[in-house]
């Protein structure tokens, strides 16, 4: 059964709860943007979800398998996407094709890095190799949303 899940994330985390590690980070890079998250590693998904919420984005997903990812990519309304390439049930390049057709900017976030064949045809999509700090991932995402 496919479940579409929206996580509201407009709550800016109170600065008082931030530990010193967070000092100097910028918030609100993605204010009001809707972002599709395709990621099948629960912990990583939760982390990115939180990072997106910190940037005041609205998270669509996370989709943890191909069928949900394809459904969300085709039907949901959103501004950008973070795609893990190899997820439960196959590879997410199908999703990349749908996003390209819909002209929605996205980036790849994968432990396979640049080695996946066939990435070159999505030349507008940056490839972020795991592990990458979540705030860097957010900056990359913000920059492709700006140019789009």
């Amino acid at each position: 059964m496919i479940q579409i899940e929206f996580t509201s994330g407009t709550r800016r985390p109170p600065l008082s709860s931030a530990i010193p590690l967070d000092a100097g980070r910028r918030y609100g890079l993605l204010a009001g943007r809707k972002i599709l998250l395709v990621e099948d590693e629960a912990l990583v998904a939760v982390e990115i979800e939180l990072a997106l919420q910190m940037q005041e984005a609205l998270v669509i997903g996370p989709a943890m398998d191909v069928s949900l990812a394809v459904k969300l990519a085709s039907e949901a309304i959103f501004d950008g996407a973070i795609l893990d390439i190899s997820i439960n049930g196959g590879d997410a390049l199908l999703v990349a094709d749908i996003l390209t057709r819909r002209d929605i900017p996205f980036l790849f976030h994968s432990a396979h890095g640049q080695r996946v064949r066939g990435l070159s045809k999505y030349d507008a999509a940056p490839v972020c190799s795991k592990p990458i700090p979540a705030d860097q991932l957010m900056s990359h995402l913000a920059s492709i949303l700006q140019t789009a």
Partner: protein, 461 residues
């Protein structure tokens, strides 16, 4: 008187030069000898004479007895008869085939010719030359070489573009399964469905231009099985529009397969390591949320990373796809959390957790244990946790695990509300989704009861 050709005169003069003798000895003939018939014990033999017979010239003396000991007796007898007749009559040629025992234990067959030099009609010296007819060493080598070719495990064949296969060794029979009789006359490229990376036309062009081509070739044996060979094709002859090709194929099917598997494993390992790194990075940043005390933060990170590494070190020990027994995994993760053996009971059907499901399951178990220590059964003296699981519908292709975590003896059953439990709950829910399963929580008076149902991935998924 007939005029002598000037070159003949020059030739005779040239013969007086010692270097001419050396040339004849080494270049044109297989040995020279010069015999003193007045003093027949003495005979000079050239260096080439001894080398041909397999001896070091420096070890031999210039005595007729030296060769007389080596010649086959019956051949020596025949030579002696010829010698006597030639001495009596210059028109009777001293010319015969004789055999010598050689220095390396073989036999060499030699045409031995000689001419008596006469003074006043009386033979006083004799000049002779050896020419090798047959060297048993060479013949033996050739025989052994053809044995080697026959016995080689490599497929060795000779074939021509128009006439097909002409030679087909035992190795070819073994590698390709076609008998020699079946292979003769066939085009080997067609017979074996050969596939060259650059195409046969390219190979043929290389053979025409360079005489030799080498590389991997994909073929099919008699049973249709794939055979990968490392091959050398050598152009032996070109005749009109035909070409004779010598071909050696080494079967590298198993080797290439092993290389592929190794490469795949290396990639899989690389992927797993990077994924784990990503998970650890997430643990670090997630543990930081809402945690102001650096000591507690460090503990929280350490505890989660330890659970993960406990589960995964088990998975690396298992030979089969990094799968782990659920019971081993549960005790590796939960042992650090409870002080007393009585605090925890673990039981269930034997279940093997495939590698891809190890991380989310270990995260769930870890979050449950953390929660029990902070707010649940394990923060009270008499609190207990029982972890049970069973395989539901085990006859189905897709096996479902139903796992229950039941806490008893805690009187304050709350979710905890210091801000970090929200993350724990979210992580459990997401991990359950990663497993493709569902979580049901029941907050009862004696403590949390949680049921997790998830399908076991098959090992090769």
């Amino acid at each position: 008187m007939q005029h002598e050709h000037y070159l003949k005169r020059e030739f005779d003069a040239l013969m007086a030069d010692p270097s001419s003798i050396r040339f004849l000895d080494e270049g044109a003939l297989d040995g020279l000898w010069y015999w003193d018939l007045e003093n027949p014990d003495h005979e000079w033999m050239s260096p080439g004479f001894w080398r041909t017979l397999g001896f070091n010239p420096d070890d031999r003396e210039h005595l007729a007895a030296e060769w007389q000991d080596l010649i086959f007796p019956e051949d020596g007898q025949r030579a002696l008869e010829n010698f006597q007749r030639h001495c009596a009559d210059p028109n009777h040629p001293y010319d015969q085939i004789v055999r010598y025992r050689t220095g390396y234990g073989g036999t060499v067959t030699i045409r031995c010719r000689g001419l008596a030099i006469r003074r006043d009609g009386v033979p006083v010296r004799m000049l002779g030359a050896h020419t090798v007819i047959h060297d048993s060493r060479k013949a033996e080598m050739e025989r052994r070489l053809s044995d080697l070719i026959y016995l080689s495990g490599d497929a060795i064949m000779a074939w021509s573009l128009t006439g097909g296969i002409k030679r087909w060794n035992r190795g070819a029979e073994i590698v390709y399964g076609h008998s020699k009789t079946a292979a003769m006359g066939q085009d080997p490229n067609r017979l074996l469905a050969a596939r060259y990376d650059d195409g046969w036309d390219k190979v043929l062009a290389v053979l025409e231009d360079w005489g030799e081509w080498s590389g991997d070739v994909h073929r099919k044996d008699r049973d249709g099985k794939d055979v990968v060979t490392s091959s050398v094709l050598h152009r032996a002859e070109i005749h009109a529009d035909d070409m004779l090709i010598l071909q050696i194929d080494r079967n590298v099917t198993a080797l290439r397969h092993a290389e592929q598997v190794r490469e795949l494993l290396a990639r899989e390992l690389d992927h797993r390591v990077k994924n784990l790194m990503a998970v650890v990075t997430s643990i670090v940043s997630m543990s930081a949320v809402g945690q102001k005390d650096p000591t507690k933060l460090a503990e929280a990170i350490k505890s989660r990373v330890k659970a993960l590494s406990a589960a995964h070190s088990l998975s690396f020990e298992e030979a089969q796809h990094g799968a782990v027994g659920l019971e081993d995994m549960a005790s590796a993760i939960l042992t650090p959390f409870h002080s007393d053996e009585q605090d925890l009971s673990v039981s269930g059907d034997p279940v093997t957790v495939p590698q891809r499901q190890v991380t989310p399951l270990s995260m769930i178990l870890h979050e449950l244990a953390t929660n029990a220590v902070k707010y649940g059964a394990w923060c009270r003296q008499e609190g207990k946790v029982s972890l049970d699981w069973s395989l539901v519908e085990p006859a189905e292709a897709q096996q479902i695990v139903e796992l229950s975590w039941r806490e008893t003896g805690s009187d304050t059953a709350t979710a905890g509300d210091d801000g970090t439990s929200g993350f724990g709950t979210r992580l459990i829910d997401m991990s359950a989704r990663q497993l493709g399963g569902t979580v049901v929580r029941d907050w009862r008076a004696e403590g949390l009861s949680l049921t997790l149902r998830f399908p076991l991935q098959t090992l090769d998924q």
